[in-house]
Protein backbone atom coordinates (compact mmCIF):
# COMPACT_ATOMS: atom_id res chain seq x y z
CA UNK A 1 0.00 0.00 0.00
CA UNK A 2 1.07 3.55 -0.64
CA UNK A 3 -0.32 6.60 1.11
CA UNK A 4 0.17 9.31 -1.45
CA UNK A 5 -2.03 10.63 -4.23
CA UNK A 6 1.06 11.49 -6.23
CA UNK A 7 2.17 7.86 -6.05
CA UNK A 8 -1.26 6.72 -7.21
CA UNK A 9 -0.97 9.11 -10.14
CA UNK A 10 2.47 7.83 -11.11
CA UNK A 11 1.44 4.19 -10.68
CA UNK A 12 -1.71 4.58 -12.74
CA UNK A 13 -0.30 6.89 -15.38
CA UNK A 14 2.69 4.69 -16.12
CA UNK A 15 0.68 1.47 -15.96
CA UNK A 16 2.81 0.06 -13.15
CA UNK A 17 0.11 -2.38 -12.06
CA UNK A 18 0.15 -3.96 -15.53
CA UNK A 19 3.84 -4.80 -15.04
CA UNK A 20 3.46 -6.57 -11.72
CA UNK A 21 3.15 -10.32 -11.23
CA UNK A 22 -0.36 -11.60 -10.61
CA UNK A 23 0.09 -12.02 -6.88
CA UNK A 24 1.38 -8.53 -6.22
CA UNK A 25 -1.11 -5.75 -5.67
CA UNK A 26 -0.49 -2.09 -4.94
CA UNK A 27 -3.35 -0.43 -3.13
CA UNK A 28 -3.94 3.29 -2.79
CA UNK A 29 -4.16 4.20 0.89
CA UNK A 30 -5.37 7.47 2.43
CA UNK A 31 -2.98 9.83 0.67
CA UNK A 32 -5.26 12.52 -0.70
CA UNK A 33 -5.48 15.52 1.62
CA UNK A 34 -8.52 17.11 -0.01
CA UNK A 35 -10.32 13.75 0.25
CA UNK A 36 -9.70 13.39 3.99
CA UNK A 37 -10.59 16.97 4.97
CA UNK A 38 -13.69 16.66 7.19
CA UNK A 39 -16.99 17.81 5.72
CA UNK A 40 -17.41 20.03 8.79
CA UNK A 41 -14.27 22.00 7.89
CA UNK A 42 -15.44 22.51 4.31
CA UNK A 43 -18.84 23.59 5.64
CA UNK A 44 -17.09 26.08 7.93
CA UNK A 45 -15.12 27.54 5.02
CA UNK A 46 -18.30 27.85 2.96
CA UNK A 47 -20.13 29.52 5.84
CA UNK A 48 -17.31 32.03 6.28
CA UNK A 49 -17.28 32.80 2.57
CA UNK A 50 -21.02 33.46 2.64
CA UNK A 51 -20.47 35.77 5.64
CA UNK A 52 -18.22 38.11 3.68
CA UNK A 53 -14.75 36.67 4.33
CA UNK A 54 -12.57 35.90 1.33
CA UNK A 55 -11.53 32.26 1.49
CA UNK A 56 -8.17 31.49 -0.13
CA UNK A 57 -7.33 27.90 -0.94
CA UNK A 58 -5.90 25.49 -3.49
CA UNK A 59 -7.92 24.75 -6.63
CA UNK A 60 -9.02 21.21 -5.79
CA UNK A 61 -10.23 22.15 -2.35
CA UNK A 62 -12.62 24.73 -3.75
CA UNK A 63 -14.55 22.07 -5.66
CA UNK A 64 -14.98 19.57 -2.83
CA UNK A 65 -18.38 19.55 -1.18
CA UNK A 66 -18.84 19.24 2.54
CA UNK A 67 -22.33 18.28 3.61
CA UNK A 68 -23.71 21.04 1.38
CA UNK A 69 -22.13 23.37 -1.18
CA UNK A 70 -18.52 23.50 -2.25
CA UNK A 71 -16.69 26.84 -2.12
CA UNK A 72 -17.01 26.98 -5.88
CA UNK A 73 -20.78 26.65 -5.66
CA UNK A 74 -20.87 29.13 -2.80
CA UNK A 75 -19.30 31.71 -5.08
CA UNK A 76 -22.27 31.47 -7.42
CA UNK A 77 -24.44 32.06 -4.36
CA UNK A 78 -22.54 35.22 -3.41
CA UNK A 79 -19.75 33.74 -1.32
CA UNK A 80 -16.16 34.78 -1.91
CA UNK A 81 -13.17 32.60 -2.55
CA UNK A 82 -10.03 32.77 -4.63
CA UNK A 83 -7.71 29.99 -5.72
CA UNK A 84 -4.09 30.37 -4.71
CA UNK A 85 -1.02 28.35 -5.61
CA UNK A 86 0.73 28.93 -2.32
CA UNK A 87 0.32 30.46 1.15
CA UNK A 88 2.59 33.24 -0.05
CA UNK A 89 -0.08 34.27 -2.57
CA UNK A 90 -2.66 34.28 0.23
CA UNK A 91 -0.55 36.74 2.19
CA UNK A 92 -0.05 38.95 -0.84
CA UNK A 93 -3.79 39.06 -1.56
CA UNK A 94 -4.65 39.84 2.06
CA UNK A 95 -2.12 42.69 2.11
CA UNK A 96 -3.65 44.14 -1.05
CA UNK A 97 -7.15 44.12 0.45
CA UNK A 98 -6.68 45.28 4.01
CA UNK A 99 -10.33 46.26 4.39
CA UNK A 100 -11.53 42.69 4.15
CA UNK A 101 -11.11 39.56 6.25
CA UNK A 102 -9.30 36.73 4.51
CA UNK A 103 -9.09 33.10 5.56
CA UNK A 104 -6.51 30.68 4.18
CA UNK A 105 -8.10 27.22 4.15
CA UNK A 106 -4.93 25.31 4.94
CA UNK A 107 -5.29 21.74 3.74
CA UNK A 108 -2.57 19.18 3.18
CA UNK A 109 -0.14 16.87 4.88
CA UNK A 110 3.19 17.48 6.51
CA UNK A 111 4.67 18.43 3.13
CA UNK A 112 2.41 21.47 3.02
CA UNK A 113 2.24 22.49 6.67
CA UNK A 114 5.79 23.91 7.04
CA UNK A 115 5.41 26.89 4.68
CA UNK A 116 2.21 27.86 6.49
CA UNK A 117 3.93 27.47 9.86
CA UNK A 118 6.80 29.59 8.57
CA UNK A 119 4.44 32.38 7.44
CA UNK A 120 2.57 32.32 10.75
CA UNK A 121 5.91 32.75 12.54
CA UNK A 122 6.82 35.62 10.22
CA UNK A 123 3.66 37.46 11.24
CA UNK A 124 0.94 37.51 8.62
CA UNK A 125 -1.26 40.57 8.01
CA UNK A 126 -3.95 41.10 10.64
CA UNK A 127 -6.75 40.55 8.15
CA UNK A 128 -5.55 37.02 7.36
CA UNK A 129 -6.35 34.01 9.52
CA UNK A 130 -5.80 30.34 8.92
CA UNK A 131 -8.42 27.59 8.94
CA UNK A 132 -6.03 24.67 9.29
CA UNK A 133 -7.05 21.11 8.56
CA UNK A 134 -3.60 19.55 8.11
CA UNK A 135 -3.14 15.86 8.67
CA UNK A 136 -0.02 13.94 9.65
CA UNK A 137 0.60 10.72 7.77
CA UNK A 138 2.78 8.45 9.98
CA UNK A 139 -0.06 7.70 12.45
CA UNK A 140 -2.31 6.85 9.50
CA UNK A 141 0.27 4.36 8.25
CA UNK A 142 0.33 2.84 11.72
CA UNK A 143 -3.48 2.66 11.89
CA UNK A 144 -3.73 1.09 8.45
CA UNK A 145 -1.02 -1.46 9.14
CA UNK A 146 -3.05 -2.75 12.06
CA UNK A 147 -6.19 -3.35 10.01
CA UNK A 148 -6.86 -7.08 9.46
CA UNK A 149 -9.27 -6.22 6.60
CA UNK A 150 -6.62 -4.43 4.62
CA UNK A 151 -3.89 -7.00 5.39
CA UNK A 152 -1.10 -4.78 4.10
CA UNK A 153 2.19 -6.60 3.56
CA UNK A 154 4.33 -3.51 3.16
CA UNK A 155 4.32 0.24 2.63
CA UNK A 156 5.55 2.45 -0.15
CA UNK A 157 6.11 5.61 1.86
CA UNK A 158 5.46 9.06 0.47
CA UNK A 159 8.84 10.38 -0.56
CA UNK A 160 8.18 14.11 -0.46
CA UNK A 161 6.44 14.08 2.91
CA UNK A 162 9.47 12.15 4.17
CA UNK A 163 11.88 14.80 2.86
CA UNK A 164 10.30 17.05 5.48
CA UNK A 165 9.85 14.68 8.43
CA UNK A 166 12.80 12.43 7.76
CA UNK A 167 12.59 8.66 7.90
CA UNK A 168 12.82 8.96 11.69
CA UNK A 169 9.15 9.98 11.88
CA UNK A 170 8.19 6.45 10.91
CA UNK A 171 10.43 4.70 13.40
CA UNK A 172 7.79 4.38 16.17
CA UNK A 173 5.33 2.90 13.68
CA UNK A 174 7.94 0.53 12.29
CA UNK A 175 9.08 -0.63 15.70
CA UNK A 176 5.49 -1.35 16.66
CA UNK A 177 4.27 -3.03 13.49
CA UNK A 178 7.47 -4.42 11.86
CA UNK A 179 5.85 -3.89 8.46
CA UNK A 180 8.27 -3.61 5.53
CA UNK A 181 8.74 0.00 4.45
CA UNK A 182 10.43 1.66 1.50
CA UNK A 183 10.63 5.44 1.11
CA UNK A 184 9.95 5.94 -2.56
CA UNK A 185 10.45 8.62 -5.19
CA UNK A 186 7.88 9.41 -7.85
CA UNK A 187 9.47 8.61 -11.18
CA UNK A 188 8.02 5.34 -12.53
CA UNK A 189 11.37 3.67 -12.17
CA UNK A 190 11.60 4.86 -8.55
CA UNK A 191 8.29 3.13 -7.88
CA UNK A 192 9.32 -0.10 -9.61
CA UNK A 193 12.60 -0.27 -7.74
CA UNK A 194 10.77 0.46 -4.48
CA UNK A 195 8.30 -2.36 -5.12
CA UNK A 196 11.21 -4.70 -5.82
CA UNK A 197 12.85 -3.61 -2.56
CA UNK A 198 9.62 -4.27 -0.67
CA UNK A 199 9.22 -7.70 -2.23
CA UNK A 200 12.77 -8.55 -1.24
CA UNK A 201 12.03 -7.56 2.37
CA UNK A 202 8.84 -9.59 2.36
CA UNK A 203 10.32 -12.75 0.86
CA UNK A 204 13.41 -12.65 3.04
CA UNK A 205 11.20 -11.95 6.07
CA UNK A 206 13.53 -9.10 7.00
CA UNK A 207 11.43 -5.97 7.35
CA UNK A 208 13.40 -2.73 7.27
CA UNK A 209 13.00 0.98 6.82
CA UNK A 210 14.59 1.15 3.38
CA UNK A 211 15.28 4.29 1.38
CA UNK A 212 14.92 4.25 -2.39
CA UNK A 213 14.68 8.03 -2.68
CA UNK A 214 18.20 8.67 -1.46
CA UNK A 215 18.58 11.87 -3.48
CA UNK A 216 15.89 13.59 -1.38
CA UNK A 217 15.05 11.58 1.74
CA UNK A 218 17.33 11.41 4.75
CA UNK A 219 16.92 10.02 8.24
CA UNK A 220 16.70 13.49 9.82
CA UNK A 221 14.67 15.28 7.15
CA UNK A 222 14.32 19.06 7.03
CA UNK A 223 15.03 20.29 10.57
CA UNK A 224 14.02 23.88 9.83
CA UNK A 225 10.66 22.78 8.49
CA UNK A 226 10.09 20.49 11.48
CA UNK A 227 11.01 23.29 13.89
CA UNK A 228 8.54 25.66 12.25
CA UNK A 229 5.74 23.09 12.52
CA UNK A 230 6.59 22.29 16.15
CA UNK A 231 6.58 25.97 17.11
CA UNK A 232 3.18 26.67 15.59
CA UNK A 233 1.23 23.45 15.92
CA UNK A 234 0.37 20.91 18.56
CA UNK A 235 -0.49 17.45 17.34
CA UNK A 236 -3.97 16.34 18.31
CA UNK A 237 -6.37 13.61 17.23
CA UNK A 238 -7.53 14.14 13.66
CA UNK A 239 -10.67 12.97 11.91
CA UNK A 240 -9.97 11.62 8.40
CA UNK A 241 -13.14 12.02 6.36
CA UNK A 242 -14.98 8.76 5.94
CA UNK A 243 -12.15 6.82 7.58
CA UNK A 244 -11.69 7.32 11.32
CA UNK A 245 -10.30 9.58 14.00
CA UNK A 246 -6.62 8.76 14.08
CA UNK A 247 -4.65 9.70 17.22
CA UNK A 248 -1.99 12.43 16.90
CA UNK A 249 -2.70 12.92 13.23
CA UNK A 250 -4.15 16.43 13.33
CA UNK A 251 -2.50 19.83 13.75
CA UNK A 252 -3.96 22.45 16.05
CA UNK A 253 -2.59 25.95 16.28
CA UNK A 254 -0.96 26.71 19.60
CA UNK A 255 -2.58 29.24 21.91
CA UNK A 256 0.04 31.92 21.30
CA UNK A 257 -1.07 32.02 17.65
CA UNK A 258 -4.78 32.39 18.40
CA UNK A 259 -4.70 35.70 16.52
CA UNK A 260 -3.96 33.76 13.34
CA UNK A 261 -6.49 31.03 13.99
CA UNK A 262 -9.71 31.36 12.00
CA UNK A 263 -11.41 28.86 14.30
CA UNK A 264 -10.82 31.17 17.25
CA UNK A 265 -11.56 34.45 15.47
CA UNK A 266 -14.79 33.28 13.85
CA UNK A 267 -16.03 30.75 16.37
CA UNK A 268 -15.73 27.65 14.19
CA UNK A 269 -16.90 24.73 16.29
CA UNK A 270 -15.69 21.17 16.01
CA UNK A 271 -18.76 19.40 14.69
CA UNK A 272 -17.71 16.08 13.20
CA UNK A 273 -21.33 15.03 12.90
CA UNK A 274 -21.90 16.46 9.41
CA UNK A 275 -22.86 14.00 6.68
CA UNK A 276 -19.63 12.93 5.08
CA UNK A 277 -20.74 11.72 1.65
CA UNK A 278 -23.90 11.44 -0.45
CA UNK A 279 -25.98 8.25 -0.12
CA UNK A 280 -24.53 5.19 -1.87
CA UNK A 281 -21.14 6.84 -2.35
CA UNK A 282 -18.25 4.69 -1.10
CA UNK A 283 -15.67 7.46 -0.96
CA UNK A 284 -14.57 6.37 2.52
CA UNK A 285 -13.80 2.83 1.36
CA UNK A 286 -11.86 4.17 -1.62
CA UNK A 287 -9.91 6.59 0.57
CA UNK A 288 -8.90 3.81 2.93
CA UNK A 289 -7.98 1.50 0.08
CA UNK A 290 -10.62 -1.09 0.93
CA UNK A 291 -12.11 -0.98 -2.55
CA UNK A 292 -11.11 0.15 -6.02
CA UNK A 293 -13.13 2.99 -7.58
CA UNK A 294 -15.08 0.70 -9.94
CA UNK A 295 -16.46 -1.09 -6.88
CA UNK A 296 -18.40 2.05 -5.93
CA UNK A 297 -21.88 1.97 -7.52
CA UNK A 298 -21.62 5.62 -8.55
CA UNK A 299 -18.23 5.42 -10.29
CA UNK A 300 -18.38 6.58 -13.91
CA UNK A 301 -22.12 6.63 -14.19
CA UNK A 302 -23.47 9.17 -11.73
CA UNK A 303 -20.03 10.31 -10.57
CA UNK A 304 -17.56 11.40 -13.24
CA UNK A 305 -14.71 13.92 -13.45
CA UNK A 306 -17.00 16.51 -15.04
CA UNK A 307 -19.72 15.81 -12.50
CA UNK A 308 -17.96 14.66 -9.34
CA UNK A 309 -20.08 13.56 -6.40
CA UNK A 310 -17.37 13.08 -3.82
CA UNK A 311 -13.87 14.36 -2.98
CA UNK A 312 -12.11 11.31 -4.44
CA UNK A 313 -13.43 12.32 -7.86
CA UNK A 314 -12.75 16.03 -7.31
CA UNK A 315 -9.14 15.98 -6.29
CA UNK A 316 -6.19 15.47 -8.62
CA UNK A 317 -4.88 13.13 -5.92
CA UNK A 318 -8.14 11.26 -5.46
CA UNK A 319 -8.05 7.63 -6.57
CA UNK A 320 -11.38 7.92 -8.42
CA UNK A 321 -10.32 10.97 -10.43
CA UNK A 322 -6.97 9.41 -11.31
CA UNK A 323 -8.58 6.16 -12.47
CA UNK A 324 -11.39 7.97 -14.30
CA UNK A 325 -8.96 10.26 -16.13
CA UNK A 326 -7.10 7.18 -17.27
CA UNK A 327 -10.36 5.53 -18.31
CA UNK A 328 -10.00 2.55 -15.99
CA UNK A 329 -13.37 0.89 -15.59
CA UNK A 330 -12.48 -2.43 -13.97
CA UNK A 331 -10.97 -3.34 -10.65
CA UNK A 332 -7.44 -4.65 -10.57
CA UNK A 333 -7.46 -7.02 -7.65
CA UNK A 334 -4.70 -9.59 -7.68
CA UNK A 335 -5.55 -13.14 -8.50
CA UNK A 336 -3.70 -15.57 -6.28
Amino acid sequence: MHVCGSHEWAITHFGIRTLLPENVEVRAGPGCPVCVTPAADIDAAVRLSMEGKTILTYGDMSRAKGSGMSLFEAKAAGGDFRVVYSVHDAIKIAKENLGREHVFFAVGFETTAPPTAYEILEGPPRNLTFLTAYRYVPPAVEAVSQSPDLAVSGFLNAGHAATVTGMKAYEPCFKKTRKPMVFSGFEPIDVLISIAMLLRQITSKEPKMDNEYTRAVTWEGNIRAQAAMDKVFDRVDGYWRGVATIPSSGFKMRDEFLDCDARARFGVKETPGSEQFIPQARCGDVILGKIDPPECPLYMNVCTPSSPKGPTMVSAEGTCKIWADHKILASMRCRI
Binding site: C4, G5, S86, P115, H160, F186, I189, N222, E317
Partner: protein, 89 residues
Protein backbone atom coordinates in the same frame (compact mmCIF):
# COMPACT_ATOMS: atom_id res chain seq x y z
CA UNK B 1 0.09 15.92 -1.18
CA UNK B 2 3.45 15.09 -2.56
CA UNK B 3 3.46 17.20 -5.68
CA UNK B 4 6.97 18.58 -5.57
CA UNK B 5 9.22 19.29 -8.52
CA UNK B 6 13.00 19.45 -8.66
CA UNK B 7 14.53 22.59 -10.11
CA UNK B 8 17.89 24.34 -10.17
CA UNK B 9 18.45 27.55 -8.21
CA UNK B 10 19.79 30.01 -10.77
CA UNK B 11 19.38 33.25 -8.82
CA UNK B 12 19.10 33.94 -5.12
CA UNK B 13 18.12 37.09 -3.24
CA UNK B 14 17.48 36.82 0.49
CA UNK B 15 14.69 34.32 1.03
CA UNK B 16 13.67 34.05 -2.60
CA UNK B 17 15.10 32.18 -5.54
CA UNK B 18 14.65 31.95 -9.26
CA UNK B 19 14.34 28.25 -10.06
CA UNK B 20 14.76 26.55 -13.41
CA UNK B 21 12.65 23.41 -13.75
CA UNK B 22 13.98 22.60 -17.19
CA UNK B 23 12.44 22.77 -20.66
CA UNK B 24 11.88 26.51 -20.40
CA UNK B 25 9.95 26.52 -17.13
CA UNK B 26 11.43 29.10 -14.79
CA UNK B 27 9.74 30.30 -11.63
CA UNK B 28 10.61 33.41 -9.70
CA UNK B 29 9.86 34.03 -6.07
CA UNK B 30 10.37 30.50 -4.77
CA UNK B 31 10.75 30.82 -1.02
CA UNK B 32 13.90 29.07 0.16
CA UNK B 33 13.73 29.94 3.88
CA UNK B 34 13.15 26.32 4.84
CA UNK B 35 16.35 25.09 3.21
CA UNK B 36 19.96 26.25 2.99
CA UNK B 37 20.15 26.66 -0.75
CA UNK B 38 23.00 28.04 -2.82
CA UNK B 39 23.03 28.96 -6.49
CA UNK B 40 23.47 25.78 -8.46
CA UNK B 41 21.67 23.59 -5.91
CA UNK B 42 18.69 21.57 -7.02
CA UNK B 43 15.69 21.99 -4.73
CA UNK B 44 12.32 20.27 -4.43
CA UNK B 45 9.61 22.91 -4.73
CA UNK B 46 6.15 22.36 -3.29
CA UNK B 47 3.47 25.05 -3.58
CA UNK B 48 6.00 27.84 -4.00
CA UNK B 49 8.41 26.80 -1.25
CA UNK B 50 11.59 24.75 -1.43
CA UNK B 51 11.16 21.89 1.03
CA UNK B 52 14.42 20.03 0.54
CA UNK B 53 17.66 20.13 -1.36
CA UNK B 54 18.30 17.36 -3.86
CA UNK B 55 21.59 15.69 -3.06
CA UNK B 56 23.40 15.95 -6.37
CA UNK B 57 25.86 13.14 -5.66
CA UNK B 58 23.03 10.80 -4.71
CA UNK B 59 21.07 11.88 -7.78
CA UNK B 60 23.96 11.14 -10.12
CA UNK B 61 24.44 7.78 -8.42
CA UNK B 62 20.73 7.03 -8.80
CA UNK B 63 20.75 7.96 -12.49
CA UNK B 64 23.83 5.80 -13.05
CA UNK B 65 22.11 2.88 -11.30
CA UNK B 66 19.01 3.37 -13.40
CA UNK B 67 20.90 3.42 -16.67
CA UNK B 68 22.57 0.14 -15.66
CA UNK B 69 19.20 -1.47 -15.01
CA UNK B 70 17.66 -0.07 -18.16
CA UNK B 71 20.64 -0.85 -20.37
CA UNK B 72 20.01 -4.49 -19.57
CA UNK B 73 16.95 -4.24 -21.81
CA UNK B 74 18.57 -4.23 -25.28
CA UNK B 75 15.52 -3.00 -27.25
CA UNK B 76 15.12 -0.03 -24.97
CA UNK B 77 18.75 0.84 -24.52
CA UNK B 78 19.13 3.51 -27.22
CA UNK B 79 15.89 5.31 -26.41
CA UNK B 80 16.62 5.22 -22.70
CA UNK B 81 20.15 6.52 -23.08
CA UNK B 82 18.77 9.45 -25.05
CA UNK B 83 16.32 10.19 -22.23
CA UNK B 84 18.98 9.83 -19.53
CA UNK B 85 21.07 12.50 -21.21
CA UNK B 86 18.25 14.94 -20.49
CA UNK B 87 18.72 14.31 -16.73
CA UNK B 88 20.94 16.30 -14.34
CA UNK B 89 23.19 18.99 -15.69
Amino acid sequence: MCLAYPGKVIELEGDFARVDFGEGTIRDGVNVSLVQAKIGNYVLVHAGYAIQIVDEAEARETLRYWSEILAAIPEDRAAIERQMKGGLG
